[in-house]
Symmetry: C2
Subunit: 241 residues, 2 copies
DNA sequence: CGTCCTGTTGACAGTGATCAACTGGCGTGG
DNA sequence: CCACGCCAGTTGATCACTGTCAACAGGACG
């Protein structure tokens, strides 16, 4: 997007040079000076699965780019029933602006790499950069659309359709046209229980559906978390996409 | 919010003077000149239930303020299964910006009054008004949060909890603290079938849950669409809020 | 008065939840 | 090095909630 950024300025810190957030995320909307200013307050950190980024109802004091790994956003009922309401991958930006408090918990689902900024600095950048603002608006609308699509999945689809939809989501952008028989290797970023919380079904049903697909020969497990989808287009038909 | 607006300018058209969109909606972010400019391209129209505002996948050429009535946003699977993914009331603004195509259908659920603007004019206003932009961002984030909360309802709650959640949604903002025994009259903006499409259940289950509440004495029907909630706090307990 | 449409009620069936037992991988400690 | 325990996941048996199918009720309207 920003050609000049690539041949750029020696003042740009090492870690920003080849960063996904700069190439495909929100940092790509900043000019060199802004990027340098922002990076002065940025800290990169590696977190393990289960690390909480933003607790439910807490004021959000910190914002992060996801550089690697998967972040899950969850909502929980008083009696413990839980729902994963969104997944974020690199180079998404975590922490919704303008909301005083977050109404979800954001938690690392896998080990993840984050680039974190204090709230005040992000807000100053937003005030200064129209491109950043429109990028954030874009991401908010994308997330809104994803959430609504998932509502359709949660409320209307059967267990096997839900599993197919989930595998396709993880396998990647549904935009790419797959001929019949296309094989894709996939690493699941969620445990069986988390998949259940994402799809609104129990761990047992998740397990049964996965073994069914495995016995069908439509997928092959290499380990608990790694599998190969033997025919993407079959799954697309299953998912009613 | 804008005191000056009330004692204002004789050039402001009659229909804008006491308009909800000006008092509580996006038009409140505009100054007098901007409002006058926008109103020159605005047309108010009354539509009946079932009128389609934006078809699924169509390019959005028109944006509207909802001045009265209820608009439903729906997504549909190829085989006809349908999900209502959002409801909009006055003074919400319909038609998400920056998305080339809509991925939902927007349709009037009741008879409704709209104030409609051509796309180009709205975009010019957005370019000119920072307050309008941040108002739209706010609405997008509010809708995102509502969608995610509803995901929790769809995926985790039982039929009776869903019905209770729905009645509370319609009865109004859950912010207001209700003592036990508070009575509220409610007009349902959706048919039984639409309630089913919103809650992810069948028309029969909706009907059974409503008659159950009615026989319990927790609600009393005055007609098919009108009812009185006898104890809001009871419903809140049912909904697990 | 008959027709249509929406909603209600009943009988029954099926999907997925629940409860429970079991398996396999992995790390710890003897 | 092996025994052990632990945890995640799998598999099986049973149950119940909600979906399905069908008949019926009650307004609205010509």
């Amino acid at each position: 997007m920003n050609i000049q950024a690539n041949i750029s300025n020696p003042d740009i810190p090492e870690r920003c040079r080849y960063c996904v957030a700069r190439r495909h995320g929100i940092c790509g909307t900043l000019d060199d000076d802004q990027l340098i200013a922002l990076s002065r307050h940025a800290t990169q950190r590696k977190v393990g699965p289960g690390t909480t980024l933003v607790g439910d109802g807490e004021a959000i004091a910190i914002f992060s780019n996801v550089l690697a790994g998967t972040i899950k956003l969850t909502k929980t009922l008083a009696d413990g029933r839980q729902q994963i309401v969104g997944l974020q991958f690199a180079p998404d930006f975590v922490g919704s602006l303008f909301r005083v408090t977050s109404s979800c918990t954001a938690e690392a689902a896998t080990k993840a790499m984050l680039c974190t900024f204090p709230k005040a600095v992000v807000e100053r950048m937003i005030a200064e950069s129209p491109r950043l603002r429109s990028r954030l608006m874009e991401q908010a609308l994308k997330e809104l659309d994803e959430a609504r699509s998932w509502m359709l999945t949660l409320a209307q689809k059967t267990a096997s359709e839900k599993i197919a939809s989930f595998l396709l989501l993880i396998a990647g952008r549904p935009g790419a046209a797959h001929g019949p028989g296309t094989r894709v290797a996939v690493e699941l970023p969620l445990s069986r229980g988390e998949i259940g919380d994402f799809l609104g079904m129990t761990i047992e049903t998740v397990s049964r559906q996965l073994t069914r697909l495995s016995k069908n020969g439509m997928i092959r497990f290499q380990s608990r978390r790694r599998l190969v989808i033997n025919d993407i287009s079959y799954l697309e038909r299953c998912a009613r996409l």
